[in-house]
Amino acid sequence: MEYNKYAISFQGNGLDYFKIQLVNMILTAVTLGLYYPWAKARSLNYLYGQSVFEGQPFVFSGTGSEMFKGFIKAFALLIVFYATLLVCLMNKAETAGIILFYGCLLLVMPLSIHGSYRYRFAKTTWSGIRFGYTGNKWAFVRLFIKGAFFSIITLGIYSPWFLMNMRRYLVCNIRVGNARFAYKGVGSEYFLLMLKGYFLTAITLGVYFFWWQKELFAYYVDNMRLTKDDETMLFRANATGGDFVALLIVNLLLFIFTLGLATPWIVVRSLNFVMRHMVLDGTIEFDLLRQEQSDYSDATGEDMADFFDFGFVI
């Protein structure tokens, strides 16, 4: 087995992304917002396409019409949800309404995350090989409800464990062809990291914040790995606290002094930063990855996640 080192790079530039956003904005405004799913597809298409690994770009092959259909379904669900809630409130059944509201939220959030992962990864390819997410819907719902419950009754102290359990489940179910990702971060370590971060940031009047971000980034990246048969690839973060100072302060200044107009450049800078500071080393021969994951085109979860604005975070 040959041992290799790989890097990912992001080659996009702010001007191109800015132009894409402008065209998206024009078409979204002219169509009274209906263009939004297509606009999102264009943006993702660009950002994925400019991310290059081993000389080959990533591809986002989701389409506006898929996401539009998902948008309609998600919207219909929301209407039903609010209508039921309204009926409860009008009939003075406030308690039932509130229970229904939080119950649905507890169900809808994990289902949206699940749906969004399925769609996003099925629509991601590299070198012609599809990614995939193989998590079980109800297993994830159980995990989510349990985590949310303990987080609430411990007043948030449990939430680092919740977040790590969730991340472990999600990442461990991501595939690319016949290789699988894994994550081995655990709640106790993450809890200490958060505690130390809060504490030192307060003591140093915020200066430590950048080093805290560096540690969090490293904790995300260093605990990731990719395995295929008996071959393994480790992820390593090599950003320093100083790198984070440069990234975040320049981003902030860019945002302030352009009244937000520099957002596309900020996105490009940040993606570039994340990818530049991640290396992979190990023995997987990427040329031999086989197509194994199936396609999946239902974007309801993706759009639902958009409504709730969780964003898409690994």
């Binding site: 080659q11 001007l15 402008l22 904005m25 000389g55 389409t63 197509q291």
Partner: protein
């Protein structure tokens, strides 16, 4: 004789690329495994409308299906590539692509024009529709709710409230709305109108005033806000901006939200200025109708100006009664054009005023 080219092909079965033979004509792209074209071997055919070009620094990728699983990479600087590019672009003329070909400056101008149009359209249309849909009766109900919420936290001077109410009864202030007055115990110089006819006057302002015509000016000004449905207009306007940001421009967030917020703040300042000016003007008309000298408006404003001078500059700059000087000038001009009218004394109003001052 067709031209065969060598390209790297990714077949969507395994990750590594392989060198294959390729040719293209007006119908699409044909690919065959192996370095030489063999007419007897199977051929993969890809129509242009399924293809998409992606240029990366140093390489040109041609995706052969919409799923992103099969694609080929052209060697850098291949002489045949522009011809292929033209074929593919011809089959894929989307509006997005056409717009994307425009210069950045043109796109910026277009975006600004459309946004400005949408902004003006929506911030005008929604208030217009809202003002038609919301009847004065409903407005009064709404105003009562605001009023109840407001008075619950204030100390009301009920004696002065009754006196000022009878003072207002002597005047013709509104045809549509019942004008109800509340005097609040507060030293500040302030008074404001709520939708539907409630007017709140701080007793600080009563103490500062000298003559009855100043109070008439104040009530006339506030009634003009009520009659012009100004607070309803303002609420509808900000709702319209909210709708614009959240629905129409949804996620294209960062830039737009900030731009619109800024534009809206300037607009609101401008708007409240124009509203105050129109309330002054209509207020002075009301004074004339009631046979009161409009010069009282100027006297009223001078009190506000004196109070403003004591305020720190930061507060008065963005206050809701902007530009006192220009308003005073306007009131002065208005009064000057009616100088020759003689205004009959109003003994009943004056005696009510004297009660109020005690």
């Amino acid at each position: 004789m067709k031209h065969i080219h060598k390209v790297i092909f990714f077949d969507g079965l395994q990750a590594g690329g392989q060198t294959v033979s390729m040719f293209f004509n007006e119908n699409g792209i044909s690919i065959q495994q192996g370095a030489y074209w063999n007419a007897d071997e199977p051929v993969l055919f890809f129509p242009y409308h399924e293809c998409r070009i992606q240029s990366l620094p140093g390489s040109m990728n041609v995706f052969l299906n919409r799923r992103g699983t099969q694609y080929m990479v052209a060697p850098p600087g291949a002489s045949w590539f522009p011809a292929l590019q033209m074929m593919i672009n011809k089959a894929n003329h989307s509006i997005f692509f056409k717009l994307f070909q425009l210069k950045t400056s043109v796109l910026v101008a277009l975006t600004v024009a459309i946004l400005a149009g949408a902004y003006l359209g929506i911030t005008r249309l929604i208030p217009l529709a809202g003002l038609r849909l919301i009847t004065p009766e409903y407005e009064m109900q709404l105003g009562d709710r605001f009023y109840k919420a407001f008075v619950s936290g204030e100390a009301i001077d009920s004696a002065k409230t009754a006196q000022l109410q009878s003072f207002a009864k002597e005047l013709q202030l509104s045809k549509t709305y019942p004008i109800k007055i509340t005097v609040v115990k507060n030293k500040e110089l302030n008074a404001f109108a709520m939708p539907g006819g409630n007017i709140v006057v701080y007793n600080g302002i009563i103490r500062t005033m000298k003559d009855a015509d100043e109070m008439v000016a104040l009530l006339a000004h506030e009634s003009a806000h009520v009659n012009g449905r100004h607070s309803l207009r303002a609420v509808l306007r900000s709702a319209a901006t909210g709708i614009l940001i959240s629905v129409v421009l949804n996620d294209v967030s960062g830039i737009l939200a900030v731009l619109i917020d800024n534009a809206d703040m300037l607009q609101s300042l401008n708007y409240s200025r124009s509203i105050e000016e129109s309330a002054d003007e209509n207020g002075m008309q009301t004074m004339l109708v009631n046979g009161i000298d409009p010069a009282g408006m100027k006297k009223l404003m001078l009190h506000f100006k004196a109070a403003e001078a004591e305020m720190p500059a930061g507060i008065s700059f963005l206050s809701s009664h902007p530009d006192t000087d220009s308003r005073i000038k306007h009131a002065d001009q208005f009064a000057a054009t009616h100088k020759n009218i003689s205004f009959a004394p109003k003994p009943s109003l004056d005696s009510l005023w004297l009660q109020l001052k005690h």
